[in-house]
């Protein structure tokens, strides 16, 4: 298993930072070892200093990522880096997206499945360098309500059409995720950590599609 740089990309407010923070929580609570049987894991460096907190009237603090968030973690003896740039179309943020798309060996494309997909595809249309294979996180699945599985299949089909037909990029795995801790969605919480572990384990190429 070699050192891997993983870029977590996606349109604004799809939950990239939340996935990253949940992964940090899993590492810190030793959940990678207990749930997935990994070697000892530890966070080497977690940098969320590029995060800006927006003024809000209620208790929920909305944030925007200006400089990419970075998490360096170790599993066994190998270190890996996760990058999560913001999703805005602002020059300073766009610099992060472009850089991360260039240096990451693996890209996780995050979608908010409760929102219109077309506007989220526009984000990727502006990213010139994307590896030939990516994996996809279908996030905020808890907001889909009834017929979740059926809706997920339709969403997968549309995402496949966009990446495979328009961008010639293969999707090697879909992960249905919920990055916020919510009762009843523990499996989807686990998928946030699982997709990152599968990135460093399989290095995606040739990986089976997973849910």
């Amino acid at each position: 298993m070699a050192m891997v740089n993983v870029g977590i990309l996606g349109d604004v407010s799809v939950g990239k930072t939340t996935i990253l923070r949940l992964f940090v929580k899993y590492v810190e609570e030793n959940a990678l070892q207990t749930k997935f049987g990994t070697e000892a894991a530890a966070i080497v460096k977690a940098d969320f200093s590029g995060e800006a907190t927006l003024p809000s009237k209620d208790d929920v603090k909305e944030t925007k990522t200006i400089h990419p968030n970075r998490v360096v973690f170790r599993v066994g003896t190998k270190m890996h880096t996760l990058f999560a740039p913001g999703g805005d179309d602002r020059p300073l943020v766009r610099m992060g997206i472009t850089t991360v798309s260039r240096i990451a060996r693996l890209i996780v494309a995050v979608f908010d499945v409760s929102r219109d997909l077309e506007s989220q595809f526009e984000f990727y249309s502006a990213v010139r360098f994307i590896p030939k294979t990516i994996i996809v996180a279908l996030n905020k699945a808890d907001l889909l309500g009834k017929d979740m599985n059926k809706k997920i299949e339709e969403i997968k089909k549309k995402i496949n059409e966009y990446f495979k037909d328009k961008r010639k990029i293969d999707i090697t795995g879909f992960y249905v995720t919920v990055a916020e801790s919510k009762p009843g969605f523990e499996g989807q919480n686990d998928n946030c950590a699982k997709l990152i572990l599968d990135c460093i384990k399989d290095q995606v190429v040739g990986a089976e599609a997973k849910e």
Partner: protein
Amino acid sequence: MKILPKKADWLIFPSVHSDIHSQEVEDALIKKAQELFGEQQEGENFKFFLLTGSFLGAFGYTYSTVRYWPGTIRPESKKSGRRPVLDAVFSCISIYLSGLVTYQTDYDQAYAEIKEVLEKSGRPDLAEIVEEKLPFVSMPPKQMLKEGQTPVTPYYIIRNDEDLLLAELYPSVQLTEVVDSIRSRYTVFFSYQGYTAFGFFDNLPENARFGFGTPAKNFDKTPDEKGVMEFISKDVETLKDLFVALITAHQNSMLMQYKIEDYESLLNKILEYKMEEIK
């Protein structure tokens, strides 16, 4: 001929965000900084401007400073007709530069990964070629720039280690062409436990005690005025340590804080600049 709009259109001036201030801490930081930088000539101090801050809202930035730059206006000054240009420029480009420096670090990290693969594949010669290209990675990425712009990192690295970088801003790139007041400035960038700090100088303090090669001392005292003063007098031996004291003082509201409402206007201007000239 260069036709630029008035600076007021795109250079956003700071205002006072919090006036809680310990003059004692500021004086101690300035005195220690002068001690670390040494003198340019007998009796003449280097001009310096050190700052650290954090994001506020979507486009805002709050920061505290430690400075010795005679003749410049502070944001809280009541003098009419003069504006804090140095604050406006240095605070905005700090955010821009911190992005560039960290991206450069990311490229270096990616290079380490490539080097490992190439060496394992028996091609160390290719690793050398890639290494030679590293300092010339375009920042901002070339695809963001319009035709005719110089896609080069706007600084020359004089020296760096894991958490401190000393560089000179090139006078030839669009950053310095747009803001002529920062022509050929020396700068340092420091990163500590997720926080960042910057320094700007009028001349290169060659003999300064930067602390390259030695880690910054951790702040292990009570984060109050007494603790910071004790840290400055007993523990600060390098610029890295001084930045730790500045970051602690800022994070615990011991120094006056200033606010820039929109730090991106300057970057947007830099990215647009050559296009206007082409038109």
